[in-house]
C-alpha cells in the first residue's frame, strides 16, 4: 500500500531544478513564468528548488559547451534517483542556431540522458508544463 502511495506521490510532487547552460534567457524567463500566478505550476505540486539534492526534474536550457558540460554533468550526478531531465528550447535540443559554433557541443543529450524534449525558441510555458507532465509518465513507468 505504501509503495503504491509513494508511486502516486512521485507523479504528484515533482520538484524542479532549473539549470541554464548559457541561453539567451528567453527560455529561462518562460520557465520562471510557469511559477507565476498566471500559470501557477505549484497547484500540481511543482516546487522550484535551488538544490540538485532535492530535485526530481532537471530543466536545462541553452547550449552546452565544454566548460559548462562538466557543471551540468555534476548537477545531474548529484540528483538522487529517480530523476528526469527535460531539455528546453531549440538550443537545448540541438544547439539551435549555434549548432555549428566551435564551442558548442550540440544538444543537452550529448552530455546527459534526456527524457523529454520541449521545442520552441523560446519554448512556451504551456509546452514546458506539458513537458514536465510527460516526464512524470517516466516515474509512473517505474511502477511496473
Amino acid at each position: 500500500m505504501f509503495k503504491k502511495f509513494i508511486d502516486k506521490s512521485r507523479a504528484k510532487s515533482p520538484w524542479i531544478m532549473h539549470f541554464d547552460c548559457g541561453s539567451c534567457n528567453g527560455c529561462d524567463i518562460e520557465v520562471l513564468a510557469c511559477l507565476t500566478p498566471m500559470y501557477d505550476v505549484e497547484r500540481f505540486g511543482v516546487v522550484n528548488v535551488g538544490n540538485p539534492k532535492h530535485a526530481d526534474v532537471l530543466l536545462v536550457t541553452g547550449t552546452v559547451n565544454p566548460r559548462n558540460a562538466k557543471v551540468l554533468r555534476n548537477i545531474y550526478d548529484q540528483m538522487p534517483d529517480p530523476k528526469g531531465v527535460i531539455a528546453i528550447g531549440a538550443c537545448g535540443l540541438s544547439g539551435g542556431i549555434f549548432r555549428e559554433c566551435y564551442n558548442v557541443l550540440g544538444g543537452i543529450d550529448k552530455v546527459i540522458p534526456v527524457d523529454v524534449y520541449v521545442p520552441g525558441c523560446p519554448a512556451k510555458p504551456e509546452a514546458i508544463i506539458d513537458g514536465v507532465v510527460t516526464a512524470l509518465a517516466k516515474f509512473e513507468g517505474l511502477r511496473g
Binding site: 505504501f2 502511495f5 509513494i6 508511486d7 502516486k8 506521490s9 512521485r10 504528484k12 510532487s13 520538484w15 500566478p37 501557477d40 505549484e42 497547484r43 500540481f44 505540486g45 516546487v47 522550484n48 528548488v49 535551488g50 538544490n51 539534492k53 532535492h54 526530481d56 548529484q78 538522487p80 534517483d81 529517480p82
Partner: protein, 282 residues
C-alpha cells in the same frame, strides 16, 4: 496506562495534523498571492516521494542526527500529550533542535555550514523566550506539570496576554517563516540554497520534514495551553494565531540574524518583564 495511550495517540496523530496544517498553510499562502495553490494533501505527497527516493548520504553522523531530530520532536509531542512536565518537554525539544544543527555541521558543504550557524542563532534566540513563557505559566498556575495547568480554572491568556505574543515570536522562528526564515528558506536560492537542509536528501529530508510537523504541533500545543478552558477557545486561538503567522510570512521579507537577535530579545524580554510585573502587581 492512560498516559501511554495518550502518548501513542500523540505520536500517531501529530504528524497527520502537522501535515494538514502545512497543506492548509500552502493553500492559504497561494490564495493570498492570488494563485490556486496545491491540494491540501500536498505535503504528504512530498514526504512520501522523498521516502521513495534513493538514499544519498555524506556520512553516518548526518543520518544519525536526522533520526535523533525526529525522535526528539516526536518525544516532546508525546510528553505534551501525556501531560508531562513543561521543563522536561523543553529540554527534549532543545535536544532535537541542537541535533539538526549538528546534522548541518556534519558535512563540509559551505551552504550547509552557513545554514547550521544561522539555525544555531535561531535556536539561541527562541529558547530563552520559551523558557520565559514556561516560567510565567508557572508563576500563574504554580506548576510546571501540564495536568495541573489544565486544572487551572481561568484561561492563561487573561493573565499572560503579552507572553502569548512572545510565544508567537518563538512560533514564527520555529516554523522558519519570514522575517526569521534565514537558516532554511525556499526563496533563498542564490544566497544559501536550502541552508541547514542542503545536504539532506531523499528519505532523510523526509524525516526532517516529519520532525518539522511534530514541532509545529508541539508549539501549537503550547499555544493551546493559553486557552485550555474551552475547546472553541483553543480552536479559535490556534486558527487565528496560525493565520497571523501566514499573513506575516507573506508580508515580511527576510532579515539578518543581527536584526533578529536584537529585535526578538529586546521586544521579547521587555514584553515578558512588563507582563510579569503586571502579574505581580495585579
Amino acid at each position: 496506562m492512560e498516559t501511554i495511550i495518550l502518548m501513542i495517540f500523540g505520536v500517531v496523530v501529530a504528524p497527520i495534523l502537522g501535515g494538514l496544517i502545512s497543506g492548509v498553510d500552502r493553500k492559504v499562502t497561494a490564495r493570498l498571492q492570488s494563485r490556486f495553490g496545491p491540494p491540501i494533501l500536498q505535503p504528504f505527497y512530498d514526504v512520501a516521494k522523498l521516502f521513495g527516493k534513493v538514499k544519498v548520504i555524506n556520512n553516518f553522523w548526518q543520518v544519525f542526527c536526522a533520526w535523533v531530530y525526529l525522535i526528539a520532536a516526536a518525544l516532546s509531542v508525546a510528553l505534551l500529550f501525556a501531560q508531562s512536565d513543561l521543563l522536561l518537554i523543553f529540554f527534549v525539544q532543545a535536544i532535537g533542535a541542537v541535533f539538526l544543527v549538528m546534522g548541518g555541521l556534519a558535512s563540509s558543504s559551505p551552504y550547509s555550514q552557513v545554514g547550521a550557524q544561522r539555525e544555531l542563532i535561531q535556536v539561541l534566540t527562541y529558547e530563552p523566550l520559551i523558557i520565559l513563557v514556561f516560567a510565567s505559566i508557572f508563576m500563574v498556575t504554580g506548576s510546571f506539570r501540564i495536568d495541573e495547568i489544565l486544572a487551572y480554572d481561568q484561561p492563561l491568556l487573561v493573565k499572560l496576554p503579552l507572553m502569548f505574543i512572545v510565544l508567537g515570536y518563538a512560533l514564527t522562528i520555529k516554523l522558519r517563516k519570514s522575517p526569521f526564515d534565514f537558516s532554511t528558506s525556499h526563496h533563498a536560492h542564490q544566497e544559501l540554497v536550502k541552508g541547514v537542509l542542503t545536504e539532506f536528501s531523499g528519505p532523510y529530508l523526509g524525516i526532517i520534514e516529519l520532525a518539522h510537523w511534530y514541532e509545529t504541533v508541539f508549539i501549537l500545543g503550547i499555544c493551546a495551553l493559553f486557552w485550555h478552558t474551552s475547546l472553541v477557545g483553543v480552536v479559535l486561538l490556534l486558527a487565528s494565531t496560525y493565520f497571523a503567522e501566514i499573513l506575516i510570512d507573506n508580508t515580511m521579507s527576510r532579515m539578518t540574524w543581527r536584526w533578529m537577535l536584537k529585535y526578538v530579545w529586546s521586544v521579547g524580554l521587555v514584553m515578558s518583564f512588563v507582563n510579569l510585573i503586571w502579574l505581580h502587581v495585579g
